[in-house]
Amino acid sequence: MSEAVKQPKQKMSFSQKISSYGTIFAGISLIIIFSILSPDSFATVDNVINITRQISFLVIIALGATLVMSVTEFDLSIGAMASLGGVVSAKLAILGVPIVVSLLVPVVIGFMIGLINGAIVTHFRVLSFVTTLAMGTVIGGFTFWLTGGSTVFENIPESFKFIGQTQLFMIPLLSIIMIILVIVFWYVMTHMTLGRRFYAIGGNEKASEVSGVNINAYKTVAFALCGMLAALTGALLASRLGSAHPTGGDGYFLNAYAAVFLGMTVVRSGIPNIVGTLFGAAILGILANGLTILQVPSFMQDVITGIIIIAALIFQKIGRE
């Protein structure tokens, strides 16, 4: 009895949380369309697993972007940070350090650079947009100096490729790492004081300050975590490819923000959120995967991806009015 009473209530709150079904509808339609057009290659278990691995990099870097955006800031250095992370970890692997160290060092570097980003933005009250854009240039230059501009691939030990290329019970280790990180940060953002304070700052910085939240400290933490996740993405990418290009991570920058923005259209409140980001990254991943299977040329893929993002944003705006 009580179950029956409860159920409609839960349904209500679920539908209340979702503002525009547009994005979700688009995601589902994509899956249906691709399944119809190429049932033998798209709609297979192998391909689904494949997609989870393909999107793992985008999801992890976009998690960081979500954190920074939740405190209403931007970090435009994440692409360059990912490139640096890849190069540093590959270089370390060549030096023969244990694989854990070659992943951990770039993560620490990313965290530190994020701290610097946050400190500059909060202490001097300069726009994060410009600060991190400049920081991205600095990082890019540094990466170029480290590599001399060429791809790092010679003498990379096989063991370095372990994380990027191993599967556990058919599931790629990369996908498992992605899922763990999504759960961790979802928990942080929804069940911990850190996430609560991030969202408070994002909702109203001044009111949060009056309520005793240390704005500068929490914003800086968001930047640091973002830098860390970006560098980790680069390191995982290098492990997957067995090589690191000095601009290998740059391309993830715009897609990461596209994923966050798509994710924001999923919830009613329109705020950056972890589940939404995962969803946004999945749409972008499914699109890339499906269009590649259909042998749509890559320039056309870009056109379609861009149009879908714009459409999602417009639908959300219309939906709210």
Binding site: T193, R196, A200, G203, N204, A207, V210, S211, G212, N214
Partner: protein, 501 residues
């Protein structure tokens, strides 16, 4: 007669902001509008300048009824406003700002004819006897130069009515004199000046007519020889005498002193010299005219504004550089003046708002304890009778009164010993207002200290044990709320204005 309002009434959501207002503005005179905050001065100006439309009544311009639908229509008639927040582009020079709403003189090929522009500007300067360096960028100009520039721009559009809204707010006395001589010149040229200022002395000095508004009604129309301070204050309080209506408490002077502020000043000079103390169990009212520095003083004490001088001693400990976080921990809480921008996080839920200052208490190891949080929030919602669907409703959806109750619930959860309430009953319904008053009285009888900032003199007299009067960034009086009335307090406010700036 140049401009006349005929039974102008403006209703905002059932509330009459203006009630059958009749005012006449003559060419070549200075006509001052006086009234406390919310008396309807700005509403009247906004109607005359096309920002709002009156609910009923007519505007008569040079004998004919006119419809001022947009600000542009007012400008076309020749009504211009010089605002407190100046409408100038900081990075443009005076010359460029002067031509902002006009077509620039062009050369044959379409380039700007700077020489002609300068000539036109100089002609204007000569005509109106306004000497300002037009080649300076605005960000480099002094406040007077900016005001003069705006007036010059208004006059270049052949203004017949010039509204000056608190033009001396950021000017020194010497600069004000310059402005007054310009006003005098404009007057002689036949311009009607509508003057708004809370500085009574200058109003008395320059006005030909004074209209006093109280609660949206005209309570007095005075001509030149009737304009005296006593008369104005009498009419601003609507002739009513409001006395201390509060029951006297046992002497609180022996109680522990919770807070002592001495010679407080802020870096931005909004607060110049503020001293007062608050005892445990005491409600201290803070009264002053707009811009007297009350809010800024409270912010400095709470760590939201940078101090430049003075000492704040709270519970026998001296604080120099503080943050709200630290002061909350020490048992002080601020209920900010602006609920919307500082009091609440509008898109967040009641629950998330209330527990924000005490997240460490409702969590362990950084993980929120939902049960503890919910208990605390439910307790406050019940105590303050917050009307909401649930604690998960966003505060933006609540009424003003209920929003303020959430603010108070949040404050109470921090278990403070001193409440600093800045206009806590602003824009709330009567019921909530009473609830807030009795809540604060109850807290005071439990030995808490209360600072009560309000621009409503009656409310101050109703709730305070003691009243501190602010004027121009300074505390000028410390009165026991006994045998005093609104006239005494207003008189003190205005008396202290004429001093140096």
């Amino acid at each position: 007669m140049l401009l006349q309002t005929n039974n102008i009434t403006k209703v905002f959501g059932g509330h009459k902001a203006l009630d059958n207002v009749n005012v006449t503005f003559e060419a070549g005179t200075v006509h001052s509008l006086l009234g406390e905050n919310g008396a309807g001065k700005s509403t009247l100006i906004k109607i005359l300048t096309g920002v709002y439309q009156q609910t009923s009544g007519q505007i008569i311009w040079e004998g004919k009824e006119v419809n001022i639908e947009r600000p542009k229509a007012a400008q076309d008639l020749g009504i211009n406003v010089i605002h407190q927040d100046r409408q100038l582009v900081p990075y443009f020079t005076g010359l460029e700002n002067l031509f902002l709403n006009k077509t620039y003189p062009k050369k044959v090929l379409g380039g700007i004819h700077w020489k002609r522009m300068r000539e036109q500007a100089n002609a204007l300067k000569d005509k109106w006897k306004i000497d300002i360096p037009v080649d300076k960028p605005v960000y480099d100009m002094t406040p007077t130069e900016r005001t003069m520039l705006e007036i010059l721009r208004a006059m270049s559009q052949e203004s017949k009515v010039l509204v000056l809204d608190e033009p001396t707010a950021s000017l020194t006395d010497k600069e004000s004199v310059l402005l007054f001589s310009l006003i005098d010149h404009l007057k002689k040229e036949g311009v009607a000046i509508i003057y708004i200022s809370h500085r009574l002395e200058e109003v008395i000095q320059i006005s030909d007519y004074v209209t006093v508004l109280t609660g949206g009604k005209v309570t007095a129309s005075l001509t030149k020889d009737e304009i005296t301070r006593e008369k104005i204050i009498y009419h601003m309080t609507d002739g009513q005498q409001m006395n201390a209506s509060k029951k006297e408490k046992a002497d609180l002077a022996d109680q522990q002193v919770l807070l002592t502020v001495s010679n407080l000043a802020t870096k931005d000079d909004k607060v110049k010299d503020v001293s007062f103390n608050v005892h445990a169990g005491e409600i201290v009212g803070m009264y002053g005219l707009a811009g007297a520095g009350r809010t800024e003083s409270m912010e400095a004490i709470f760590g939201l504004r940078e101090k430049s001088n003075g000492e704040v001693v709270y519970k026998e400990k001296s604080y120099n550089k503080v943050s709200p976080k630290q002061m909350i921990k020490e048992g002080m809480i601020l209920i900010p003046e602006n609920r919307h921008d500082e009091g609440l996080i509008m898109p967040n839920t009641i629950s998330h708002n209330m527990t924000l200052p005490i997240l460490n208490e409702v969590s362990s190891g950084g993980v929120l304890t939902r049960k503890k949080e919910s208990e605390k929030v439910q307790g406050e919602m019940k105590r303050f009778k917050v009307k909401a669907v649930s604690a998960n409703q966003t505060v933006a959806e609540l009424s003003g009164g209920n929003q303020q109750k959430v603010v108070f619930g949040k404050a109470l959860l921090t278990n403070p010993d001193l409440y600093i309430c800045d206009e806590p009953t602003q824009a709330v319904d009567i019921m909530t207002r009473n609830d807030i008053h009795s809540f604060l009285q109850e807290q005071a009888s439990n030995g808490k200290g209360i600072i009560f900032v309000s621009s409503d003199i009656q409310e101050i007299l109703e709730v305070s044990d003691r009243i501190i009067v602010f004027s121009e960034g300074k505390t000028v009086a410390d009165l026991k709320n006994k045998d005093i009335d609104n006239h005494t307090i207003l008189d003190i406010c205005y008396q202290h204005q004429k001093g140096e700036n």
